[in-house]
Symmetry: C2
Subunit: 525 residues, 2 copies
Amino acid sequence: MVGFAAMGTESMSWPLRRAARLCGGAVAVVDAASGTQVTYAELQGRVDALGAALAGELAVQPGGRVGVLAANSLAHLELFLGVPSAGRVVVSLNTRLAVEELAALATDARLAALVADDTNADAATAIAERAGIPALIRVGEEHEALLARAGAGGSSAADNSAGGDALATISYTGGTTGRPKGVMLSHANLLANARHNLIATGHTAQDRWLHVCPMFHVAGTANVVAATWVGAHQTVLPRFDAAAVLSAIEQHAITHLNLVPTMLGMLLDHEREHGATADLSSLTHLQYAASPITPELQRRVLERFPDVDVAQFYGMTEAAPTVSTCTPADHRREDGRRLRSTGAPVVGVEVEIRDAVDGTPVPPGTVGEVWVRGPNVMLGYWEQPEATAQALHEGWYRTGDAAYADEDGYLFLVDRLKDMIISGGENVYSVEVEAALAEHPAVREAAVFGVPHPRWGEAVHAVVTVDRAVTPDELIAHCRPLIAGFKVPRSIEVTQHPLPRSGAGKLLKQELRGPYWSGRERNIS
Amino acid sequence: MVGFAAMGTESMSWPLRRAARLCGGAVAVVDAASGTQVTYAELQGRVDALGAALAGELAVQPGGRVGVLAANSLAHLELFLGVPSAGRVVVSLNTRLAVEELAALATDARLAALVADDTNADAATAIAERAGIPALIRVGEEHEALLARAGAGGSSAADNSAGGDALATISYTGGTTGRPKGVMLSHANLLANARHNLIATGHTAQDRWLHVCPMFHVAGTANVVAATWVGAHQTVLPRFDAAAVLSAIEQHAITHLNLVPTMLGMLLDHEREHGATADLSSLTHLQYAASPITPELQRRVLERFPDVDVAQFYGMTEAAPTVSTCTPADHRREDGRRLRSTGAPVVGVEVEIRDAVDGTPVPPGTVGEVWVRGPNVMLGYWEQPEATAQALHEGWYRTGDAAYADEDGYLFLVDRLKDMIISGGENVYSVEVEAALAEHPAVREAAVFGVPHPRWGEAVHAVVTVDRAVTPDELIAHCRPLIAGFKVPRSIEVTQHPLPRSGAGKLLKQELRGPYWSGRERNIS
């Protein structure tokens, strides 16, 4: 058989190129912080200049890695689209990490260049020095001058053939525990995910997106490719700030917004405290993703936005990221039975729930591990063949998430497998206990994990953030009628401090659990 | 770099498997002729049984070709989805071809089995004998008994790994001129096209499709994958018949319909002659594709269906097939300037207009050849490496269509390159002349082509079908103010007979032109 790899040709340059051709005069990106705005034709020009600068002045080889350490901005969005378009690899780093951690990532990725904004300039200088990065570019005048020189040189970014299964981005995950893993996504991965988002959400050129999730996380860029492909209007906020988001929605007549649940909560809290002064009536589509939502927050969101299409997306960096979605119709069902679901697999992605031990598919209603496959599934972990081999199995990605599917194929996440507690031989899914605790009116957030216990192996322990005073015994009594006895926490720490979370809003349970386990091994990986 | 070909895993089995899981109890297919209907769970069961029968009783090897010679039916749809799902290759043959032609195709494809319905049973027997096909299965009792035996055997179609770039279908094109070419489409090609259709049309599980274009042509199956993936309701008509289509729309509350322009015209003519008695108010989306439409027919369609989303799709078998679409909004623009366009490239497919001679991109407004690339572009022509090498060039497919793009990136088809007439050194696009002729009220259809001329090389000749008497001189006088002198036909044949068309409704200009050129070579290929 003739083996033409037509697939190999599709490139991250396609979405922008299509938009520049079909709606070159339309506004592509508004940088809310600076007030700068560019049309799709101008964005294409800037991306072409970036490609020329990478190949020319910056001498980054094809396949070379370009780091980004910056808040969200027009430049950040350009780098995300433009570096892969030019056949190089973009590595956007978490600005909340310490210089030491960042230097380790930069070294791991062997960055050939690092682009940083003013806020991160000092850190970038230190990182570049430690990691021996040849080129350091400051967003702003320096970056603009670079583009101007490259653009004026008339040298275009040489029509390169990078695409398909070639590496486009590396995203580091798991920075808080163990060795960080660089998730390798190809051009085809990112474009497949964009297609899946387009099918699930139905983007159009008339959409007006607000990008506010950090672009160093896949939640921040997930909609950029799709929005660009259809030629939508995209406003970029440097970082999440409730007041700024509310006023940006009004000012830019935003129709589409993607947030993590924590941000959603802060948005509603801000309105509760300061009044709903901003006009949010332009909003038609509100996504939340990247971490579980509490039923209480879900209820508040649906009440606040009765006419908005509210959708949940479940996924992970390794799946580029979309796996399943709980649609607006699912959210508005009268029986409410899909509100706790992370939805059904989107068109294009296959999901199976498999036994956590033997890897065979389990029937509906039975908890197992979520396995995912599709053209969106990552190439692997950067230079970590063992971790890759553990995660990828005959085309399937093992997510490490514990879930069950109902009879309709809807997924219900139960826990991270590694967060499952084994107490006296019983499996306790921490999320179930957290949900029980969260139903107490005083509880704002709860984190449940296992701590060493001489008799049961592990005992269920909770850390709870409260709005008003409440004792551990009151909370334990509250849980008893809600969950089985062996699931009720044996001990509870009550605190006023917010729980530790990652940049993407993920609860960092490991930070809470770690001290209890120092010097010990847990028996679940 | 780790080269996990995650792409290689996606299979034609995915769409049905998703539908069977998420909406197994919903009606999948209604076979209008027999009245049979199956749910998605039942369809999955039948497809699984088919796979078991292919691997077992029929002993078709993985990758082996299974021919189909049948009108549209549940069985035909099942074979289209099920044969590739089982890792075999489906070859649906044009039922309008002669036995001799069909036997040649069956021999070319080395069919391991042939499935035929009653109408085509005699032809199938003759073909099987001439082509030495080991297994011949009759749709109906024999086919049902085969599935029942395979299903009862409990042997499932062995979870096979065929997918990605593996061959899924062979579709023969160009059966009327030269050696027929078997277009090889992979699993990834067909799934990519389904994604593009889903993005362009926004299919949902609530859609109710009517499939009436012949399934031996890509126009007949183009929406099957997409409709299956979302779990839509699909009604299948054996073949086009205006009265049957109209009554099926009413009876099955059809929302989505795809026709070739000729069928659209026959539908409207039927209503004009017999009155608009059927209730078509369920219809929300009407596609036309596969051949050019006249402005007059377009006007009639838009007037008849003022509240329906009318969309044109342009594509070809080699592109699986979708390339561009003229959207409902394009059709309803007040300035009407996109009505003659075949639309803008869909998300996911790249199009360039390139100089027909040197292959370099041409600017907007300049006519050139349409080049197409994307994950939907075919693997090549079955066992014809030379034809493949001519058609595929560095990931691009050269369509042989002459077109220009306007400033907005919309495509305007001008002609087939091979239908371009070179008369006295001037290029004449036959379509332009046909459009001028079609504006005459007496003209129903026109075919324009070059005939040998001792002085100009070629002279413009037209064959015109008329509704009432009109002379060639009157038609020539009609054309003069509309097009340049060198484009005006030198000779016109006026006839009452319909023009010859293929099963897909394509004008077979070669049949008209052939007699003029017998024994001669044209200088355009």
